[in-house]
């Protein structure tokens, strides 16, 4: 037994451990999907519909097939298995036949020797379309006279939450109408992957995605293969933010690889990336908020409409979230909240960071500011007066069981010191003025404003979904001491999830060297890297597996070395009654492996009144934004954001700050610049030249305050932190611009025209009628459309 004194294990839970994938990322050697390479590989390319709605009369591929270097040109006729797939419902064609329902929908695919030859071959495919009338407005989609996208109509899901007495009268009412635009996730890494045909007739796919197993579940039936013949391995993911939840090139590359018997790589350019992934739903929200004269909320009535685009994607879950969170993190005894996701001929929308919560936060926080003004109460006091807490009842009837430090996040965001008043314009560097980098203003019409927002959302999947996570932990002897290998199919998108797993393993086993097995489908599902869930779920699975490994280690210590008493692990040692008894390395003549699956507590679907224990747990956030507005030029500069994050427990404080800062940037984008502009259903700004995301000059200092009130009964008391900041920052920043300008500004993003008053506030004639639906379920469910991810069950 070695008597060498070992250093304390570093990089455990609670420390800002360095990223486990950091070194290859700074060196440029980390292999993203677009970096994959095989010496025999062909390049795939996709022909997409230019029309939002059209009948396909004829597809002529002869010229493309005959083009130099072309190995395959495939259409829907060449799909050997099922021709439809989908994340929640299989309503999306692998390749269009008959009709196209949005501009950008894939129609044919090509494999050729080089990307350029593939692109040229695509240009040689002739498709004869009969253009049909398109539904490109979400209210128009509800009109019974509108063209129908699917046989079950244009309503995808209608959720109705009835709580208390929805007709309850209040002393004071405020009413507002709000709109948010279609936002793009714009991850820097394009959709990409490499499909390699295998000798057993199957295919190996290396791909950038968010959930390997649900990808496979959708891919295999379309290829006509059993799942075990479709093996997925994760490629490096260059950001995701929801955009990789739905399939992109996966089935196409596999089809081409199986057809040509050659590896096929597909890697989208930025324009195709904008066309090929789902976006954040544009929303229209009508809301009436009633309160007593003293400021206690009495009743919230809301009507939400979100544009799901042509196919279901995850819209049913997004409208479920938006509707359940529409009243905000406040105690509301009475409510009637109805939300509808509709199909239109616009590009499909689905998951993006916040998943329905940023849109409703924009509305409920503007309502709170209106109400405060109406009542003559300080808007932050009004929020404190109504904030939910542990034990509160939500509009769904769900009781908040876990930690709910809403007052804490509000107080922290409020009490941070304000940035100093800037020097008058002649003294200031012009770069610090609104529009500064463009050198357009001299700072004559500057006004400062302060805005505030509070919001919340769920952690993990809801409404009865069991999104379990399996992990395998192996403890083995290595040349420099014991090594832990962690294996999970969980996807690292950049947020630091795999580093969290390593921290959990170090903490549980007292071993500092941790390696990660590539994420793949050899193990069971890890669920999606979304819904801020992987710290909870992956951390939970690794903790369970480590506990089993530790038990075996203790058994070995007792039986082989004869230690007795209460055992524990620390810093490479087994301790007996707190005293070093035997080195872990000395017990590892054979490795110890354990595979365990973590489930979160079960939830229930919404009942017919929209009541149920629908969410696993909640995370809260508050932000205060300070802006400076040039009211003559309509330009906005965000000066400071204070971001208070309810983390439960910060597993890695530096990574929590990273989520707070990065999430704020995306919320700032939707507040003042980001909008996919549609012209009759066609995206007009599918490039980084025309779709602007915040640069380093747009971002203010973000001060993050981490609130740690542990969530009971979850590993380390930790909540996920991926979405908090994005939920609230759009609302906080637009509130600050309202404060600076005195304008209504009920639409995000705020444009210069809105600031100077050239464009009127968004308006709507009346609340749209509720559609006639059989119940709370998505409409495809009533029409027998095959389920997607919700059918995924644990296999072992």
């Amino acid at each position: 037994m070695s008597t060498q004194l070992r250093e304390r294990v570093r990089g455990v839970v609670g420390e800002s451990a360095p990223r486990i994938d950091g070194v290859p990322k700074v060196k440029g050697t980390f292999a993203y999907g677009s970096d994959l390479w095989h010496e025999r590989m062909l390049w795939g390319a996709t022909l997409r519909s230019p029309h939002p709605h059209a009948r396909i009369r004829r597809i002529e591929v002869g010229d493309a097939v005959a083009a130099p270097g072309v190995h395959a040109v495939l259409t829907a006729d060449d799909v050997p298995g099922k021709k439809l797939y989908g994340l929640e419902f299989a309503d999306t064609p692998v390749l269009a036949w008959d009709r196209v329902l949005y501009a950008g929908q894939p129609v044919a695919i090509v494999a050729a020797e080089t990307p350029e030859l593939a692109r040229r071959a695509v240009a040689r495919i002739v498709v004869e379309y009969e253009v049909l009338p398109a539904v490109t407005d979400m209210e128009r989609a509800l009109d019974p006279a509108a063209p129908k996208l699917h046989e079950w109509g244009n309503v995808l899901r209608h959720v109705r939450i009835e709580h208390g007495d929805p007709d309850a009268e209040a002393e004071v009412w405020v009413e507002g109408y709000y709109e948010t635009a279609m936002q793009d996730q714009a991850p820097l890494g394009p959709e990409a992957g490499l499909a390699i045909p295998a000798e057993d007739g199957g295919v190996d796919l290396i791909v950038s995605t968010q959930w390997l197993h649900v990808d496979r579940q959708q891919i295999a039936p379309c290829l006509g293969l059993p799942e075990e013949k479709v093996r997925l391995t994760l490629a490096g993911v260059g950001g995701a933010f929801g955009s990789r939840e739905d399939l992109h090139m996966q089935i196409h590359a596999c089809l081409l690889a199986l057809y040509t018997n050659r590896p096929v790589k597909m890697s989208y350019d930025r324009r195709e990336s904008f066309l090929a992934h789902v976006h954040r739903h544009p929303s229209r929200i009508w809301m009436r908020t009633g309160a007593s004269r003293e400021g206690k909320l009495v009743n919230v009535r809301a009507r939400l409409l979100i544009d799901g685009g042509a196919f279901a994607s995850s819209s049913p879950a997004v409208i479920g979230n938006a509707t359940t969170f529409a009243a905000g993190p406040y105690e509301v005894p009475n409510a009637l909240i109805e939300g509808t996701a509709v199909y239109t001929n616009n590009p499909p929308c689905g998951a993006m960071r916040g998943f329905g919560a940023p849109q409703v936060c924009f509305a409920h926080e503007a309502q709170m500011d209106r109400l405060a003004r109406e009542l003559g109460i300080d808007p932050i006091e009004l929020r404190l007066m109504n904030a939910v807490h542990t034990g509160s009842v939500l509009p769904t009837g769900q009781v908040v069981r876990g930690s709910a430090p809403v007052r804490e996040v509000i107080e922290l965001a409020r009490s941070a010191s304000l940035p100093p008043e800037p020097e008058p314009p002649p003294m200031r560097h012009p770069m610090t003025l609104p529009g500064g980098a463009g050198n357009v203003g001299r700072g004559e019409g500057l006004r400062r404003g302060v805005g505030f927002a509070v919001g919340y959302k769920n952690i993990a999947y809801s409404e009865g979904f069991d999104d379990f996570h399996q992990a395998r932990v192996t403890l083995a002897a290595g040349p420099g001491g014991p090594v832990v290998e962690v294996h999970s199919a969980g996807v690292e998108c950049g947020q630091g999830f795999s580093t969290v797993l390593a921290q959990v393993a170090r903490t549980e086993l007292g071993v500092d060297r941790v390696t990660l097995h590539a994420a793949d489908t050899q193990l069971d599902s890890a669920g999606s890297t979304s819904a801020s869930r992987q710290t909870l779920m992956g951390g939970g699975a690794v903790q369970l597996a480590c506990a089993a490994v530790r038990q075996e280690l203790f058994d070995r210590a007792r039986s082989r070395v004869g230690v007795t008493g209460a055992l524990s692990l620390a810093d490479g040692w087994v301790l007996a009654e707190g005293v070093r008894a035997v080195e872990i390395a000395d017990l590892l003549e054979t490795p110890i492996t354990a595979t365990r699956t973590f489930h979160h507590r079960r939830t229930t679907p919404l009942d017919e009144r929209g009541q149920g224990d629908v969410h696993v747990m909640f995370a809260f956030a508050a932000q205060r934004a300070v802006v400076e507005v040039d009211v003559e030029l309509g330009l906005v500069r965000v000066v400071q954001v204070v971001s208070a994050i309810d983390a439960g427990r910060a597993i890695n404080p530096q990574a929590v700050e990273g989520q707070s800062e990065g999430g704020t940037a995306q919320g700032l984008g939707l507040a003042v610049m980001e909008e996919l502009q549609l012209r009759d259903g066609v995206i007009a700004n599918a490039s980084f030249t025309d779709y602007l995301i915040p640069t380093i000059l747009d971002m203010p200092p973000v001060r993050t305050e981490i609130v740690e009130v542990p969530e009971p009964d979850v590993p380390f008391g930790a909540k996920g932190v991926g979405e908090h900041a994005t939920i609230v920052s759009t609302a906080a920043i637009v509130a600050a611009i309202r404060d600076a300008t005195g304008r209504e500004l009920n639409r995000a993003p705020v444009r210069p025209d809105d600031v100077v008053g050239l464009r009127l506030p968004a308006s709507s004639a009346s609340w749209p009628p509720a559609p006639d639906v059989p119940g709370q379920e998505p409409l495809p469910a009533y029409h027998g459309v095959a389920r997607g991810q919700s059918a995924l069950t644990q296999s072992s």
Binding site: R19, G22, V26, K27, G28, D35, G494, G658, T695
Partner: protein, 157 residues
């Protein structure tokens, strides 16, 4: 067409399609995928390299334009396990998340600090305005530049 260029100190030849960008040639012909392809229209800076010592977006330079010239990429900055101080600073500051923008930013920051070892924050932000990052919100990138600048002043490189 055949081009000859000096990449990271070594003369290399590549047979490229005349329409190929330098980025494509580096990534697909010369085995240097560290420079990334995020927008391919000069907006995001992920493909930033030095061409004859000047920063360029390699997606906007034809491979043919690099004929008989010197290119330096992110791959030149580290030697085996030894990272460049700018790379170390990015890791320490937490400036890396998905990492797709990181190679371009590391090159741009190295270039900045080689020209100006003590840039103020405004100069840092101006110098990096052409490098998009979608994950970090840039705060920790600014921190990383400060850290790297401090080490440069201490003579780390």
């Amino acid at each position: 067409m055949l081009i000859r260029l000096r990449v990271n100190g070594e003369w290399r030849e590549a047979d490229v399609w005349p329409g190929s960008s330098l980025l494509f040639a580096l990534r697909e012909e010369l085995g240097l995928p560290g420079s990334k392809n995020a927008c391919e229209q000069g907006e995001c800076g992920s493909c930033t390299v030095w061409l004859d010592g000047e920063l360029v977006c390699s997606c906007l330079v034809l491979a043919a334009q690099a004929h008989e010239r010197t290119v330096r990429t992110v791959e030149s900055l580290s030697e085996g396990d030894r990272l460049h101080p700018v790379q170390e600073a990015f890791l320490e500051a937490g400036a890396v998340q998905c990492g797709f923008c990181t190679p371009g930013l590391v090159v741009a920051v190295t270039d900045l600090l080689e020209r100006d070892p003590s840039p103020d924050e405004l100069a840092v932000r101006e110098a990096l305005a052409g490098n998009l990052c979608r994950c970090t919100g840039y705060a920790k990138i600014v921190d990383a530049v400060g850290l790297a600048a401090e080490r440069r002043r201490e003579g780390a490189w």
